[in-house]
Subunit: 307 residues, 2 copies
Amino acid sequence: MEIELIAQLRERLPSHPLLKLGIGDDAAVLDGAQGPDWVVTVDMLTDQVDFLLDEVDPRRVGRKALAVNLSDLAAMASQPVAAVVALVLPRDNGMELALALYEGMIPLAEEFGIAIAGGDTNSWDGPLAISVTAVGQTTSRGPLKRSGAQSGDWILVTGSLGGSILGRQFDFQPRVREALELAERYELHGGIDISDGLSRDLAHMVEESGCGAVLDLASIPISEDAERLAEQVDGTTALGHALADGEDFELILAVPDAEAQRIIADQPLDVPVTAIGAVVDEPGLWQLNADGKRTFLPVGGFEHKFQ
Amino acid sequence: MEIELIAQLRERLPSHPLLKLGIGDDAAVLDGAQGPDWVVTVDMLTDQVDFLLDEVDPRRVGRKALAVNLSDLAAMASQPVAAVVALVLPRDNGMELALALYEGMIPLAEEFGIAIAGGDTNSWDGPLAISVTAVGQTTSRGPLKRSGAQSGDWILVTGSLGGSILGRQFDFQPRVREALELAERYELHGGIDISDGLSRDLAHMVEESGCGAVLDLASIPISEDAERLAEQVDGTTALGHALADGEDFELILAVPDAEAQRIIADQPLDVPVTAIGAVVDEPGLWQLNADGKRTFLPVGGFEHKFQ
């Protein structure tokens, strides 16, 4: 629904002279004049949708609510500075729950050197909802945008993909340091983090860039979690999970040819960086077949395609 | 619960070198280096608590969700720049509801010249929750803080108070222009907006300032709504409503003597500015009696006190 809503609203939302990048990217960018620009992103997580409060330690929920926003700042290759937290708590044990959520957020905020700068706390008869807004600053390289991918760029991903539902959906490391390191040492054209799944988020990025993407499916780094899930009789291959599963919170990057070659050779991060395809002029997602031809790759529905 | 939570967390929340003002004020302030500082505030509104979606046009809900944040920026005498919006929508008619909420926000954003810069939209089986984060910039006068009140300051309020439940709770005008006008032309020491009620919010301000306040109850500007409510047999006087009712979203200001006299004489705004008391060293809220003595004024519970 969000995509449909954005499509309806995009042209109608008011702007501001200081707004350099608005709706449609991982975060908004505000003009910092002589200083760095400011980057703002918000995500709301809710019980029964993003987590089951009956089954998960609320500290992991708090951590995740902050981490997903740090991942958005990472996707912009921006330096996190502060976060504000809006909570609506169920009335039963609300205070205890609020403290546990903050106990999950505080260590992550400390790890990434950001302030928890304020918030708003409410109660109701409904389930828990937690909305975190994170604020960061761009580096001298400027923000990394979804819309910056260019035909001919390589598509790189950090880490390995799929099966985050086995636990990584809560305990992932937002790729802030990795994004800053790459942006400082290499020229990057475009970026997005994987929240909706590799294929969906890659499609978002290239669509925002007015391009398409061809994937070499055999090169996609598949996580052990995806392998484990595929071994269960769930009708989806490990590759299917790597392509379609959400909440990897790894980075997809569009990188010019020579720079991409350097990154792949250098492997400058603690996590692998893998080349999985290329940006092309033709819109949409494509897979590269053994005969060198492309066939259309549907976004989503991989559960059926890769059985 | 929020006050108790803040008390527990305040010393534990991580900070950042760029954070100039954190939890405990109407908004956080981030260092803008050579440029203006940035001000960030978040508020979450929820169905059944802040509004009854069955009974109110969702456009008014959307407007209010943005307006309460503009009021927080007004309390900091800051210039609004942009807002981001996190929604969790009930599954039935979610898209229609989301559009109506934005239709309520957009005209207010246009009126105040701010961007709607991004958001996050979700659905669930629960009721509507809407969290808006507003970002603004301080003026050359710097942010107006809760903690700036000083003994001897006059306490001024804009507009008239009480009875917002009759409609003003949705249709109020955030006092952004008024705050900027006053901050530009006069020296102000402290400020807060009235969300929890005059007595509670004044108590917050003077507590953050390490002071107390004495009110001349006869001078408090009582709204027609408060009078109308009091005429109903609800056991609360109009003054009781003006003191205790939430959601006036007027400004309480602590202003040094000579400046306050100028403001009262000039009446520089389209709404009245009224002197209602003074900041004193002694902590707590007090009322000035006819004999010139002070008696303690309980925060809240006015329903009983002013019958």
